[in-house]
């Protein structure tokens, strides 16, 4: 009878439900690790530049755990289920990406490339529109992760002054404005990327204010 259609559907959804729960559990783990890592990484704000290595070394084990978490998640996902469930992990993966981007900035004062991020997170990246064949970090996730860096940079500019480093805000400002000019090249639509992009200017403003304060007092030339 016709009801069989629904019985079959129910069976299929039952099976999917298991996958759904596993993905949920895996993303929760990733989220936990990221929160911990984020807490550790934010110590960078209270240290002078020459002691940053303490933080970036301390964070390495956290990235190893993040890699494990992402590996577990990736194992559950096939190209077919990737986009269907992407919403479930995309925020956590963006956070993980933001952590990698910040850590790399602290270490080398440069923008992490997608390949760097992929290496830190232990997952493949796909910065193109090519079909995916496995679990990947996508372009929008990478860009959203990078946008989070502006917030950290603004904080870092303020905190540099607190630890008596008046030169660093200048470096941060140059870096931030170069990076911002990259984002300004994008033709964004009305979506989350656009909204996050719109918030960058406030971070830039905070960085500029620090510079203004320093210059007006003659602390930098």
């Amino acid at each position: 009878m016709d009801l069989q259609v629904f019985i079959d559907l129910q069976d299929k959804f039952d099976q999917e439900s298991e996958l759904f729960e596993s993905v949920k559990a895996a993303t929760k783990e990733l989220d936990r690790t990221c929160r911990l890592a984020s807490a550790k990484l934010s110590k960078a704000h209270s240290l002078p530049k020459d002691r940053l290595k303490e933080v970036t070394d301390a964070i390495k084990p956290q990235f190893a755990t993040i890699q494990q978490n992402i590996g577990e998640l990736a194992k559950l996902i096939t190209p077919v289920t990737f986009y269907k469930y992407k919403e479930m992990w995309t925020h956590k993966l963006q956070n993980a990406c933001a952590l990698a981007v910040f850590a790399i900035y602290l270490e080398e004062a440069r923008l992490a490339t997608p390949a760097d991020v992929g290496e830190h997170l232990g997952c493949k990246v796909n910065m193109t529109n090519e079909p995916i064949t496995e679990f990947v970090l996508t372009l929008d996730e990478y860009l959203l992760g990078v946008i989070s860096l502006f917030g950290e940079l603004a904080r870092l500019a303020v905190n540099s002054v607190i630890v008596n480093d008046v030169q660093r805000p200048q470096e941060i400002s140059t870096f931030a404005s170069e990076l911002y000019s990259g984002f300004q090249l994008l033709n964004l639509k009305n979506d989350v990327l656009r909204r996050r992009f719109d918030s960058i200017k406030y971070d830039i403003k905070r960085i500029e204010e620090v510079q203004y304060d320093l210059r007006v007092r003659g602390l930098i030339s």
């Binding site: 129910q10 860009l143 170069e178 090249l185």
Partner: protein
């Protein structure tokens, strides 16, 4: 834009990579836009099929199905266009943009199937309708199918009311049985799946069912009343007037 050669190396690297990102994003947004547009066209045409089908209470079934078939050929052309945008993993990537049209199409052909066969269309039959040379033009997910058929009650309800107006009392019974089955089926599936939109469609289903049950009720009561006063051969259309 400043000259690339005048930039610091770090800025140059950023401009170069972000230009690539821009091209990738533009291509993605354009594709998404095309899919949304195509999906909208499919929705519009599917609605026309539904209206053509609902005229079955006024016209001969042959004419109605012929009209619908003509429109169906047009929809298939749109699906052929859509199919080009939804190759491989793009089918999943852009499912959210494509699904409104696919659902509306499923609604239309399942109404059609109901009118012809008195049955709920199956997934295989949907894919069969969507096929050219034995290959379905687009991927239809279980969610698309379920959400498509769960839009049926409103249309079945319309058909039912029109049919009574024309004195086809048998239709009420068929519609009622069909909607009861749908309700049972959908409630069953809802207990396990994670489709939020499905919940929004339930009130429509319930109110449609209630309307048909009420109609059936007044018909039944009217009939027994007529029996009791011995008026047996009342003209059907007259009776319909009493009910409505």
């Amino acid at each position: 834009m400043e000259d690339l050669s005048l930039m610091t190396p770090s800025k140059k690297a950023i401009i170069t990579t972000f230009t690539e990102y821009r091209d990738t994003l533009d291509a993605h947004y354009d594709q998404r836009e095309r899919i949304i547009k195509c999906s909208r066209d499919i929705t519009a045409l599917s609605k026309k099929i539904v209206f053509a089908l609902l005229r079955i209470t006024q016209d001969s079934p042959e004419k109605v199905f012929k009209d619908a078939e003509a429109k169906h050929a047009q929809v298939l052309e749109l699906f052929q266009k859509l199919s080009k945008e939804l190759q491989g993993s793009d089918a999943c990537r852009y499912n959210r943009q494509a699904t409104p049209g696919i659902q509306e199409y499923i609604e239309a052909i399942s109404l059609w199937h109901f009118l012809q066969h008195d049955r709920l269309i199956t997934m295989d039959q949907v894919l069969d309708r969507l096929s050219v040379d034995g290959q379905p033009l687009v991927t239809v997910t279980d969610e698309d199918y379920l959400l498509g058929v769960s839009d049926l009650p409103g249309e079945v309800n319309r058909y039912c009311i029109n049919a009574i107006g024309k004195g086809d009392h048998d239709a009420v019974k068929r519609c009622l049985e069909f909607l009861r089955l749908l309700k049972e089926g959908i409630s069953m599936v809802m207990s396990t799946c994670h489709i939020s939109e499905l919940g929004k469609k339930q009130p429509v289903l319930n109110s449609s069912l209630e309307k048909i049950e009420k109609t059936y009720y007044s018909m039944a009561i009217r009939e027994s009343e007529l029996h009791s006063i011995g008026v047996m051969n009342v003209d059907n259309s007259e009776q319909a007037n009493i009910i409505s």
